[in-house]
Amino acid sequence: MSGAEIGLALSVFLACTVEAVEALTIVLAVGTTRSWSSAIGGVGAATLALAVIVAALGPAITSLPIDVLRVLIGGLLLIFGLQWLRKAILRASGLKAKHDESQIYEEEAAAARAAGAKPTGFDGYAFTISFKGVLLEGLEVAFIVLTFGANQHRVGLAAAAAGLAILVVVLGGVAARAPLARVPENTMKFAVGVMLSSFGMFWGAEGAGANWPGGDAALLAIIPGVLIVAVAIVRTLSRTVHPTPPKKHQTTPTETTDQATVSA
């Protein structure tokens, strides 16, 4: 497996794990408070819809000429990746609330309880919420699988990485019987943002006619480069959000008077 293929598999696995954890929280909340059979029905219907979308768009995307494919997909991946990275940077620096699966679970469960009496048979609420949750989270995964996979003509590898991630999350959810709040989601989102932005930049520039020094090996500089820039932005922002408190020291009567004058 080449370095680019490892990057592809890793990016898809991480992105899919994060999205699957979020979808699992929603399904668990409506399943435990309303109806497991209807919630699982929603998961099945959403999975089917996602499979149809991938099956319809996959061949259409892979049939594009390679340069068009790279500039189009590189551009889309870069726009998408910068969104992920921006949110991850804001979360890491404290400017945006971190994703908390336990809190989201409680909110979803409270909404499910407030949605009225549970019917004895099919529960439309549990089905719809479960369907929408899995479909919306799954669309992001489908987008990443299709763009990454098509660009390297390895849709199968991308789909396998996504499938493995879903399996790991489902097994984790079954074992824990609770939202997977201990998964380091925010860190994983940060990593996915870095990977999507790096690959998007690389492929987009190649598609537009640029030649990277060292060819594919340039990714070994691009990925750490994007990571360093992102971490530097987080550190700078963190200092503004949480400024270091001044060291405590004994104040002299003169200093106190001066401070009082300044604050006045």
């Binding site: 726009i79 910068l82 921006r86 987009g204 537009a208 640029a210 922002l237 503004t240």
Partner: protein, 68 residues
């Protein structure tokens, strides 16, 4: 609202999100890369510079919005 318009808005929201300026910036940077490459000049440096600038500006806008 027609279904086509609703679908178009959903696709826009899904891909572009809440920062359309970054999306426009990426498109412009790719165009500039193509122009520089077509002129026979090495063009690989355009995208890293553009991404650095776009990310910094996007974060700055978001940080200002958050502090208000």
């Amino acid at each position: 609202m027609t279904r086509a318009r609703t679908f178009g808005l959903a696709v826009w929201e899904f891909i572009v999100g809440d920062d359309w300026r970054t999306a426009i910036g990426v498109a412009l940077a790719l165009g500039l890369t193509a122009l520089v490459a077509a002129a026979g000049v090495s063009a690989w440096w355009v995208m890293p510079l553009a991404v650095l600038g776009l990310l910094a500006l996007s974060i700055r806008r978001a940080a200002r919005g958050a502090s208000r």
